[in-house]
Symmetry: C2
Subunit: 245 residues, 2 copies
Amino acid sequence: MQLELSVDRSSPVPLYFQLSQQLEAAIEHGTLTPGSLLGNEIELAARLGLSRPTVRQAIQSLVDKGLLVRRRGVGTQVVHSQVKRPLELSSLYDDLEAAGQRPATEVLVNTVVPASAEVAAALGVAEDSEVHRVERLRLAHGEPMAHLCNFLPPGLIDLDTGQLQATGLYRLMRAGGITLHSARQSIGARAATPEEAERLSEAPGAPLLTMQRVTFDDTGRAVEYGTHTYRPTRYSFEFQLLVRT
Amino acid sequence: MQLELSVDRSSPVPLYFQLSQQLEAAIEHGTLTPGSLLGNEIELAARLGLSRPTVRQAIQSLVDKGLLVRRRGVGTQVVHSQVKRPLELSSLYDDLEAAGQRPATEVLVNTVVPASAEVAAALGVAEDSEVHRVERLRLAHGEPMAHLCNFLPPGLIDLDTGQLQATGLYRLMRAGGITLHSARQSIGARAATPEEAERLSEAPGAPLLTMQRVTFDDTGRAVEYGTHTYRPTRYSFEFQLLVRT
DNA sequence: TCAATCCGTATGTCCGGACAATCTGACTAC
DNA sequence: GTAGTCAGATTGTCCGGACATACGGATTGA
């Protein structure tokens, strides 16, 4: 069976991208079965009327995503796996929404405060300079799921409480023209203090999952620092890692 | 100031790789300061006697690593950041060793057992078929730090208890010719059961950090399934994420 | 029968060029 | 003075080709 592939040269979408998307869809859809060979690049290029570098670029992007494996002298084949999606810099809100959990947000605090030493260090601003402080309770199905405390440098975006309740922080930042690039995360656990327990409807001393994160944009600026606590009975971090080669 | 770059055409090391390594070293070393422009690709190629695609390939690999940012019409610049290294598929043993913690391992169990439904599903083998089971206690500075329970499909590598005590499982697998490729992880927290507490010198009910992981090799085969528990006072997961674009 | 060698095949690396898209900054027109 | 326009610079995309390198199987030799 031959895979149906075609490219539209009149489209502004790059040819290699058109191809990689079609291949990815075919893999996702099961048309390209795990372990099957993709056919050699030269012939594939000829069939599509493309050059080999263009085809290689398309294939390479899928190799980077972990969907394909190249073997010199053998060919390119579809990875076997239950592999889904590699770890992205995800937002809790999007994660919940994707899981069909109907997330809701209760904004507890939305104000401007002087930066503590810890916050100043994380965001790379002067101590006691003004930063935004946002504290939110994230609910799913009406049940509290996480307590989110975030700090943002001033002048980045305007934090409207209404918008914060309707969507996630990352989405607001992206909409504000910020290109998220990387983040430094730390995930741990500890026992809930009485206040934390109260907020999350847990018993004092119950285990909590904690996450701290500093997010950087594409210029390397810190754009957000957050301290989150999650109810481990309701949430865990799930992700797919790829080996850097 | 001009950056000193050169390539050795007689070396078997690919030219683009030589270049990317030199650039990475310059960034690491601070010779290329954050925010500085890299100079345009054409001129850089001419200076090195390389073609533009080769230079682009070198630059692209650093962009993928998050060290550089390209801007059309502007140029390529070094990212500002406190960015260190993106998340790798790391082994606890290597992590501890890199942190100077002198890890030690106590092998509690090293045997072959029939696969439970959970293990069979994770490894993609038949239920009740034989799998290796390894249970270890990981110590740092003589203090218990984590309890590691792993399952491996049969015939992959031979698990020598002595070797398991001297090094980490991932290192053994790599040494056994297995190319680790990706892993699916889940990180959560829960209260310690009396047995877990005993093993890790914690109080019953104390919070524990838990991690489950299925690791795949480059053909998509599952090569390891593990259930780990960590003492959150001694260990947390730290990593750097890059946004997939 | 088994091992070493050869060869076809496919990817890996590299070249030189062409044109398009986009950003910045300066110039111009209102 | 402000906004729109234009030009230069730089990366993005794409082409067609060349040779190197590694894998696997078939052939050959012991």
